[in-house]
């Protein structure tokens, strides 16, 4: 019964958390590795976590904290501008995207996505986690603080720094994205 519930949870949320992990890590390979590690840990604690009624909060926390730990262990991310797979995706956006059944929403979006990913990866992992949880997961500042185990004030300051950093690295992209909203 527990395995069934766990499997159902994973099946229902795999894509969602794979994408969250992707935004946190900037790499498809690292995202899947991080998510799998977190879900394995979730399995071993499933009974307790499920008893809280909100396994999603637990997974978010493990992904965010796991990526910060991963980032601290190896800061090589700072030395890499674009992951090989990202470069490949950008170069082959048309055929690759079509082959995968993905639809482009505006011309040149792949290049912008690469720029955004590059800008995100230049942020410290903590700021990146705040930005992604706040603006992708649409969590409130209080919820982000609970996930990361810090104060709301820290979330506010990290968010401001993340935005400033992204603005600095991504001014051209932000301007274009803003025009689409």
């Amino acid at each position: 019964m527990t395995d069934t519930e766990y499997a159902a949870f994973v099946a229902a949320n795999w894509d969602r958390y794979l994408r969250l992990a992707y935004l946190l890590t900037g790499s498809e390979h690292a995202a899947e590795e991080l998510l799998q590690d977190c879900l394995v840990k979730l399995y071993s604690r499933w009974r307790r976590v499920a008893a809280t009624g909100d396994p999603n909060a637990y997974v978010r926390r493990m992904l965010a904290n796991g990526n910060v730990s991963r980032w601290r262990r190896s800061r090589r991310e700072h030395l890499v501008d674009v992951m090989p797979e990202a470069a490949g995706t950008a170069a082959g956006a048309g055929a690759g995207g079509a082959a995968a059944g993905r639809q482009e929403t505006w011309p040149g979006e792949r290049e912008h996505a690469v720029e955004l990913r590059r800008a995100l990866m230049r942020l410290p992992a903590g700021q990146r986690a705040v930005a992604v949880l706040r603006h992708f997961e649409d969590l409130s500042e209080k919820q982000v603080a609970e996930v990361l185990g810090c104060s709301v004030g820290t979330v506010k300051s990290q968010n401001a720094k993340a935005l400033a950093g992204l603005r600095h690295h991504l001014s051209e992209y932000i301007d274009e994205a803003r025009s689409l909203t």
């Binding site: 399995y43 926390r61 996930v147 909203t181």
Partner: protein
């Protein structure tokens, strides 16, 4: 929300939309999860039962048990200095009032390869046996958890920010868990039969820092839970216990657990150090404001 934030939100969603997707490797996750659960259970059992076994060993080193080097050589009778403090007496004294402790353990990474650095976990806490009030905070080794005990009610927070879980403290595990070593050593002594031998290794230090050191070693087989079944774990424990000469309290226990390889658990070496301090200092804990009632784990 500012324009910049709205733009960032849109951009992140777009980036994620074009990010990775696919079928979850559920079979692989279940398989890895089961292995991890078995390993965790096995280690927890090995360390926990070991902790109790250490105390049992200490009990066996009480008056008339173990071999005091001083006594054996006859040197004790030729000096006016008091003899070594019996470990069982020290354990009883430790349990007579509130005490604080810190614990460091170094365990192999589950599934890790030989030669990889061990996972270091540290925790600190306090316990008052008379009121059954206590707490532990664990940090490191990929773990960050807190637990509180108030009488027979236990609270646990698996990770920072997570909801507190409330449950009735387990009584069945009190004599065989690592917690029993730090929270209720005397009870552990009563529950476990003598598991080994201890020998007096001498007295070092001076003044308030003067301590008696006891060495111990023993081997045992323990039964641990592994999913729905049980597994046998063989292990050997070697270590030392130091007792303050001035106050007769246990000052520290350091031991190494070496598990024998089995189908469920690889050969491993785990080092544990526990330091006791602040005897008599009050232990103040309060129940978390919000908690979720769950069945005892």
């Amino acid at each position: 929300m500012t324009d910049d934030e709205r733009a960032l939100s849109a951009a992140l969603h777009d980036m994620a939309e074009h990010g990775p997707s696919g079928s979850p490797p559920i079979s692989r996750l279940l398989s890895r999860g089961r292995r991890r659960r078995h390993t965790r259970s096995a280690f927890a059992c090995a360390i926990g039962v070991t902790g109790a076994g250490v105390l049992a060993a200490l009990a066996s080193a009480g008056p008339g048990a173990g071999t005091s080097a001083d006594t054996a050589s006859g040197a004790h009778g030729a000096t006016t200095r008091p003899g070594p403090v019996a470990l069982s007496l020290a354990a009883e004294r430790t349990d007579a009032g509130p005490f604080h402790f810190s614990l460091t353990s170094k365990t192999p990474e589950p599934g890790g390869k030989a030669g990889e650095p061990p996972r270091t976990g540290t925790s600190e806490g306090a316990f008052d046996p008379s009121t059954l009030h206590g707490y532990t905070r664990a940090v490191g080794g990929g773990v960050s958890a807190q637990s509180i005990r108030i009488g027979d009610t236990c609270y646990s927070q698996p990770t920072p920010g997570a909801p507190w879980l409330r449950f009735t403290c387990s009584t069945s595990a009190s004599g065989t868990s690592l917690a029993s070593l730090t929270q209720d050593p005397a009870n552990a002594l009563k529950q476990l039969e003598a598991a080994g031998r201890a020998t007096y290794a001498g007295r070092t230090g001076s003044g308030s820092g003067e301590v008696d050191t006891w060495k111990f070693t023993f081997s045992r087989n323990a039964q641990g839970s592994a999913g729905a079944g049980t597994i046998q774990i063989g292990y050997t424990v070697t270590g030392t216990a130091t007792v303050g000469v001035a106050d007769g309290h246990i000052a520290a226990i350091d031991y190494t657990v070496t598990t024998a390889p089995s189908p469920m658990i690889a050969h491993s070496v785990t080092d544990v150090s526990i330091t006791f301090s602040d005897y008599g200092a009050p232990v103040r804990v309060s129940a978390p404001a919000d908690s979720i009632g769950v069945k005892s784990p």
